[in-house]
Amino acid sequence: MSTIAVRHLDLHHGLLQAARDVSFEVADGEVVALVGANGAGKTTLLRAIAGAHRPSAGNILLDGRDITQVAAHRRVGMGVALVPEGRRLFAQMTVEENLLLGRMAGRPGPWTVDKVIEAFPNLAARRQARAGTLSGGEQQAAAIGRALMSNPAVLLLDEVSLGLSPIAVDRLYGSLQQLMRSGTTIVLVEQDLGRVMQVADRAICMLEGRIVLEGATSSLSREKVTEAYFGVGDRVPA
């Protein structure tokens, strides 16, 4: 159970600026979705929260404590886990070995290999298979399972539906529903706006590294989000 706060964050890829003065907070147990076009800075922002990308300015706070300078592997131990874009499983290792790696941070909690397989039944038959041989849906389940094995208080999900069939996406979100109701704080990047409206409490819309729209999903209309997404509304930044 934790809160995340991002304060005046600037992120760069070399000379390219991926995020400009981004600030937002995520309350305990809240599910927040980041939406925006490709290149809006969503993935870099999630990687910065996870510690894989060093901000050029600003702070990241976990439960009010500044973790900006903390290395990625130590943040996992503090309860921040990222399911990276493109899964990034260790292809040469088995599903079970990938899951066990999530334990390296040594955070105590309820998740075990058996529990993960219970939550994602499609992994049951593939437990000893090399991760590189899995289907996209199985890989995504294994990647989420690996993050869960570290018993995260804050789970960051980066485009978990990317490259999956609609059926596989339904199955995946079916498994995630339980997690979202269990009180884990979640920040997710998702391209499917319908899905965002359905699963998230709040949506943050980014355009060219800036937050252009933010609000409870119940109060946001699809049209308003679409306008912000493409930057064609009256809230376009100067």
Binding site: A72, H73, F90, M93, E97, G106, A147
Partner: protein
């Protein structure tokens, strides 16, 4: 003929032992350590000093030298290899080449040009042998070295497959960035791998010192044999390394039977043939290097 084969296989155990650390470092850290042979000679000198100045048997001396080599490996990764790797994949090769020159010349400075051996310090073990049927005699030391090589290689395999740190090291070698995201301290994992590699180098140095003579500049030829065994066996595969050592040694002993000059020539010949076949099968040098083991 059978005698030649048996002696060849046993010599292969020694080559596998010196190749174990080189192959381990290459497979999990993607580093070709050109100081490998010099570090083995350094360990041999350390055992010699303990034996001559303090009367400590080389076997007991290993209790001091192996942890010292492991500590050296940890520091080597932290202060040399880690920095060198960040500068590009070829820089560690240059860095370890430089390190080998430094070690060789420091040893020369300290111990001079005399050839040394640990044989005096291990009593009858250096020449005692076991009689096998068919009038074949095998050296106790050679059999022991072979057994240690199998134990080291098997131990490395079990460590990588079944322990948490082994998994962490494999994950780090595959994708260090993602390893950090799942909670692995990638720098610590590679430093531990380096420490393990250098502990096996300590064992190789002990085997070198007990079975033969060495001098300050003996590292180069040890590196060459280790490198050839690792490449023949398919660098990075644990049991391949044992096989590679045996193939290299068999080629050498059979070559020596043909002509006294044949020992080295046959060994290098097999190495080159295997190397070119591998390059040809992989479709060029670049795909061969890129292929993950």
């Amino acid at each position: 003929m059978i005698n030649t084969l048996v002696q060849g296989v046993l010599l292969g155990g020694y080559y596998a032992l010196i190749a174990a650390g080189l192959s381990f470092m290459f497979s999990v850290m993607r580093i070709i350590n050109l100081a490998h042979g010099s570090l083995a000679v350094l360990a041999a000198y350390a055992l010699l000093v303990l034996a001559q100045n303090f009367g400590i048997s080389p076997f007991l001396g290993l209790l001091v030298v192996l942890p010292a080599m492991a500590a050296l490996g940890f520091l080597l990764q932290r202060f040399v290899l880690d920095r060198a790797l960040r500068a590009g994949p070829l820089v560690p090769i240059l860095a370890t080449f430089g390190l080998s020159i430094v070690i060789d010349n420091l040893l020369f400075e300290a111990f001079g040009a005399n050839t040394r051996s640990l044989a005096n310090a291990i009593g009858t073990l250096s020449y005692s042998s076991i009689a096998l049927p068919g009038n074949i005699y095998v050296g106790v030391l050679a059999v022991g070295t072979f057994a240690v090589a199998v134990l080291v290689l098997g131990g490395l395999q079990l460590f990588l497959s079944f322990t948490a740190y082994g998994r962490a090291i494999r994950a780090t070698s595959e994708d260090p960035d993602t390893a950090g995201l799942v909670g692995i301290d990638a720098r610590l994992a590679t430093a531990i791998a380096s420490a393990i590699a250098l502990a096996t180098v300590g064992l190789a140095g002990a085997a070198l010192g007990m079975r033969a003579t060495f001098d300050a500049y003996a590292g180069g030829s040890q590196l060459l044999f280790a490198f050839e065994a690792a490449v023949i066996g398919g660098a990075g595969s644990v049991w391949g390394t044992l096989l590679g050592g045996i193939v290299l040694a068999l080629a050498q002993t059979l070559g020596a039977k043909v002509s006294p000059l044949g020992f080295l020539i046959a060994g290098h010949g097999v190495f080159l043939v295997v190397l070119f076949v591998r390059i040809w099968l992989a479709g060029g040098v670049t795909p061969l290097l890129r292929r993950r083991t």
